[in-house]
Amino acid sequence: MLNNRYIKSEWLLILALLTALLVSVRFGAVDINNDEIFSALKKTFAGDTLTLNERIFMHIRLPRAVLCVIAGAALAVGGVLMQGLFRNPIVEPGLVGTSSGAAFGAAFYFVMGSVLKLSTGQWTLPVAACAGGMVSTALVYLLAPQGNGSKNSAVPLLLTGIAVNAVFLSGVGFLSYIARDPQARSITFWSLGSLSGASWDVCLIVAISTLTCCLAALYFAKQLNALAIGEDEAMLLGVNLNRLKVSVLVINVVMVAVATAFTGIISFVGLIVPHLLRLVKGADNRSLIIHAALLGGVVLSIADLTARMLLRPVELPIGIVTSIIGAPVFIYLLRRKSYYF
């Protein structure tokens, strides 16, 4: 009853994901053909030296395509979790402050990094962004009034999120204002998202955090389902509400902050993917999490490919692509008569 109707669509999504991977490794500023891909893989295993195109494939294209798939999964699953937790389909993972905090962390690094003599190594920026995202989310959680007796106690959290977001975004604004031109450009660029920083090390880190968090999310899927009929009802069905809230928030912030730290802010994926899936697959969170992980990867791969191909050889920030495609799709979904929310 609950099981069988999902199996087919999962395979379909896996197929789509592999196709997207394959297409996105082939095209870009330089096109790479199938022979080069095969010989690159063969030579890497054998330990031979690679040609230029093969090196582009092995060290730029492939890690980037893989990061796309993982980061897309992180954002989409984060969206499922936040929408489930707040019982609201218009919530996205950044709503509890994660992405604005991450942006502040990144901006702080760009502007103050040299003043404070922060290390210029490749890990400083992601660490700053990740820390910013976690600090802001923790602030939202600590500042939100613990409304006892209110019907929906997620609302204070949501409203506090809006306020904290405003503070951190004005912080980003202030830093951009006092920044020198190249620094300000870095901030803008980071806020629009890019996957050009992908490497195998990055892939590994994001993969570990995303996979762990997705598995943890699956564990809470049943309790999130119960939350769909209300916080009181979930408690009456045996859910420990506080534990669920804290766990889901932590899972979301770790997954999204780590991914965002390496990709910058990518909007709309976390909002649209869960919507799209709920429309087709219903609202069971277990199925939503599995499907969102796959579809998020597909969507972000397509977006990244578009960002690279549209003004080739110039590369667009991916956040621009996701917003410009995402917004109309979102409005179309909302206007469909068959959609209840």
Partner: protein, 259 residues
Amino acid sequence: MLTAQHITYSIGEKTLLNDVSLAFEPGQMNLIIGANGAGKSTLMRVLSGLCAGYTGEVLYDRRNIRLMKENELAVNRAVLSQQVEVAFPMSVGDVVMMGRYPHFSQMPSKADRQICHDAIRLFELEKLTNRNYMTLSGGEKQRVHFARVCAQIWDTGQQACRYLLLDEPLTFLDIHYQLDLMEKLSLMLRNNRLVVLGVLHDLNLAIKYAHHILLLHEGRIIAQGTKKEVLTAENIKTAFRIEPKIVTDEMKEIIYLLI
């Protein structure tokens, strides 16, 4: 057995429940009546474990609910709330399955599925099983939640006493389903390890089905016991500000109120 000892619950200056003590026996239809704002729903919330800030104790089989975990309570205690909104499009079958959530950790067992199937059949929802819950009428939704709470405390031959708390369960139902539901509850009560406790507005339905009536007025119990003891002309006048004609049979048993 469900007992409450000296429950007092206030919000700010306002005392919603004032020294309420009660005991509900298994195998009986226990109904709470009272005017709007008398404290019926608050009492239900305290008894079901949703309120924390009360004084006094609530005991399920002599176990204090303050010391019980949510899931421990949910295995044997189901609550039908006044109004339940589902935030996302879910099928009727999925909503009924929620009743089994306290009983499995990740995936429902075969037994859980069978119980949902039986609960759906009991409330004549077979044709709606795959329908989106959000598209149902008020009465249909109410029946879905009945199926859900019954699935939650389904009789699987367990030794423990089970508890069913119903807050105005008949609101959205037509007269056919109102009677149908009360009959089903009476039938379920033949299993004497079930405590049923309901808030009802229709005094005549209370007369027809209740074994034990509790009359609340301004947060206090002003009478409890059999219908003969509780539904006196004086009590009804105090609690509801109406003066109905009480129709009795030759045994002086109340048959109905002519309002």
